[in-house]
C-alpha cells in the first residue's frame, strides 16, 4: 500500500515506462489496441463521470426542479447557502464527525495493531474478530442495530442501569445523537488496523536488532524506528478515512429516519444534499451543495498531501 501512495505522489510522466521504444509501426498499432481495451472505461469516463460533473456544475447555477427546464440564476444558489441555517448546521455536523471520529479511529487501530504485532499466538483470530465491525459497519442492518442499542430501553441504558445510572434516549437528545454515530465510526477501526498490521510487518527486523545491540530501550525503538517507518501508513489511513467519513450517509439516514434530527444534530452534509435533491427535488441548489463538497474534499486532500512533507517519512 505504500506503493499505492507513492504512485499517487509521483508526478504524472515519471513512472515506470521502460526504456524500450518499439518501432513506430508497433507503437501505433498498440495505441489502437490500448484504446480498444480501454473503451469501456473511456466511455464511462465521458458519459458517467465527466459529463455529469460538468452538468452538475452547470445546474449549480440554475433553478431546476426536474419538471421544468433549468433557469440560469447566476450565483444565487451559492448566496443562498451563506444565509442557509441548515447548510451551516450540516457543515458543523460533518466537520465535528470527521475531526473527532477519524483520529480516534486511527488511534484505536494503531494501538491494537501494536499489541497484536509482536508474534502473538492466535493473531489471525483476533484480527478477524476486530475486523468484523468494519465489514458490517456501513450496512443498514448495523445502523438499525445502533438505533436499538442507544434507544430509551436499549442495551446501553440497560448496562448503565446495572451501575445505577439512568440514561436518556441518546438518539432523541440533540447533544448526544451525533456522538452515537461517532462511536459507530470509531467502532469500525478494524480495517485501518489490518493496514497498520501489514505496515508493521514490513519494518525490517534488522533495524530492531541493530538498535538492541546498541542498547536502545523499547520506548526509544518505538519512537525512532516504528513511528517514523509507519508514518506513510498513517498518512494513507488518514486520507482514506477522511474522504470516507466526509461521505458517510447510511448511518445518519437510518438513525434519524432520513430527517437528520433531532434539531439537525445528525444532518450529515450528504444527507442534506439527499434531502434537497431527492426529497425537495431542488436539483439546482443540491448541485451547488455537491460541488461545494467536492471542492472541500479536494482542498482537504491537497492540504493533507502538502502537510505530509513535514511529517511523513519516506525512507528512500
Amino acid at each position: 500500500m505504500t506503493a499505492a501512495l507513492r504512485a499517487k505522489e509521483r508526478p504524472p510522466g515519471s513512472p515506470s515506462v521502460g526504456p524500450s521504444p518499439p518501432r513506430r509501426r508497433g507503437r501505433r498499432s498498440q495505441g489502437l489496441a490500448a484504446h480498444a481495451f480501454m473503451s469501456p472505461w473511456l466511455i464511462g469516463l465521458v458519459l458517467v463521470t465527466a459529463a455529469p460533473m460538468l452538468a452538475s456544475l452547470y445546474l449549480s447555477f440554475t433553478d431546476y426542479n426536474i419538471m421544468s427546464t433549468p433557469t440560469f440564476v447566476g450565483f444565487d444558489n451559492f448566496e443562498r447557502m451563506v444565509g442557509d441555517e441548515r447548510f451551516w448546521a450540516s457543515t458543523r455536523v460533518t466537520s465535528l464527525y470527521v475531526l473527532v471520529s477519524v483520529p480516534l479511529q486511527l488511534v484505536f487501530a494503531l494501538m491494537l495493531a501494536l499489541v497484536l504485532d509482536r508474534g502473538l499466538r492466535g493473531l489471525s483470530i483476533y484480527r478477524s474478530a476486530y475486523y468484523l465491525p468494519s465489514l458490517l459497519g456501513t450496512s443498514v442492518a448495523v445502523a438499525v442495530l445502533w438505533k436499538q442499542i442507544f434507544g430509551h430501553d436499549g442495551l446501553v441504558n440497560q448496562a448503565l442501569a446495572l451501575i445505577g445510572i439512568q440514561g436518556t434516549n441518546w438518539l432523541q437528545n440533540p447533544d448526544s445523537a451525533l456522538w452515537t454515530l461517532i462511536i459507530l465510526n470509531v467502532w469500525t477501526f478494524g480495517s485501518p488496523m489490518v493496514i497498520f498490521l501489514a505496515g508493521l510487518r514490513q519494518i525490517p527486523e534488522e533495524l530492531y536488532e541493530a538498535a538492541r545491540v546498541d542498547g536502545a530501550s523499547q520506548i526509544r525503538m518505538f519512537r525512532h524506528i516504528t513511528i517514523p517507518l509507519l508514518t506513510p501508513i498513517v498518512f494513507f489511513n488518514l486520507i482514506l478515512q477522511t474522504i470516507g467519513s466526509f461521505q458517510a450517509f447510511t448511518q445518519a439516514h437510518v438513525i434519524s429516519g432520513g430527517t437528520g434530527g433531532p434539531v439537525d444534530s445528525t444532518l450529515f452534509y450528504t444527507l442534506y444534499i439527499y434531502q434537497q435533491a431527492f426529497v425537495n427535488f431542488d436539483m439546482g441548489y443540491a448541485s451547488a451543495l455537491a460541488w461545494v463538497l467536492l471542492l472541500a474534499i479536494a482542498v482537504i486532500t491537497a492540504l493533507h498531501f502538502t502537510l505530509s512533507k513535514y511529517w511523513v517519512f519516506y525512507g528512500d
Partner: protein, 302 residues
Amino acid sequence: MSTSTLDSPPVVDGPTRPRGPSRSMRRAKVRGAILRHGGLILFGLFMLYPLIWMAVSAFKPSHLVLTDPSIIPTELTLENFVNGWVVGGFPFWVFFGNSLVIAISAILGNLISCSLTAYALARLEFRARNVYFAIVLVTVMLPMHAVVIPQYIVFSNLGLVNTFIPLILPKFLATDAFFIFLMVQFIRGIPRQLDEAASIDGAGPFRVFWSIILPLMKPALITTAIFTFIWTWNDFFGQLIYLTDSSVFTVPIALNALVDSESNQGTGTLMAMSVLSLIPLLLFFAFAQKHLIRGIATTGLK
C-alpha cells in the same frame, strides 16, 4: 519483553542454581501473555457484544428483547422472522433475489471492464498513458455526490428509475476506478518476459491478455470480486435513490422500509431481519477471509 533479557546479562553464580532466573523469566513471560490475551479477549467481547446481542435478540420473544439484556436466552422463537418477512407486500426472498442480481452483475461488470482497462494501462505502449493513469487516480477520490444528480436526471428521463440498470451499467463502464488501480499494480508485478515470449510467438495483445495475464492476475480478480460484493450488498445511497417501488427493493432498502412499516413489531423483528441481511456478508467472511484480509492489507479497501 525480549529486551529485558538482553539488558540484564545472564547471571551464572554457581552450578547450584542455574535454572533460577530462567524459570522466573519464563513465569513473567507467561504472566505477560495471559494478561495480553485476557485483555484482548475482553476487549474483543466488548467490541462484538452488540453483534452478539443482535443475533440473540433475533430469536427472543418480543416481550423479552428489551427487558432481558442477557445473551443467554431463556426462550427461543422464530416469530420475529415471521413478523418481518413481508415488507410492502413482498416477501424478503424477493429482496434477496434483487440484491443478488445487482451484486452478481456488478461483480461481472467490474471484472470485465476493469481488467481490460488495467491491462492496457499496465502493459501496452501508447501516448498519454500516464495521463490516463493519473485520471484513474483522481477519479478514485471523486465523491459520487458530484455526479449523482445529473445521472439521476438522465436515468429518470430514460424511464430507468425502478430498474437495476442505473446501478449495474456504470460497473460495466469501469467507474469503480479503484479496482483499475489495484489491477494495474498487480499486473506490473507479473514478469514481462512472459508476455514478450508470447508476442514473439505471434500472439496479439488480446491473446496475451486472455491466455497469459488474466490467469496470472487471479488474486487481484478475487479481491475485486469480494469487495464489489461487499460494497454492493452494503450500498444504500444509490439503491435508495433509484429503487422506490417495493417490487424492486433490495435487502438494505427493504430493511430501511421495515423500520417505518406496519409489520415492524419492535426490536425483535428488526434484529431478526438485520441478522438475515448480514448472512451473505458473514458467509463471505467465513469462506474468503484470507483473501479479504490480504486484500485490505495490500490495497486499503474497507
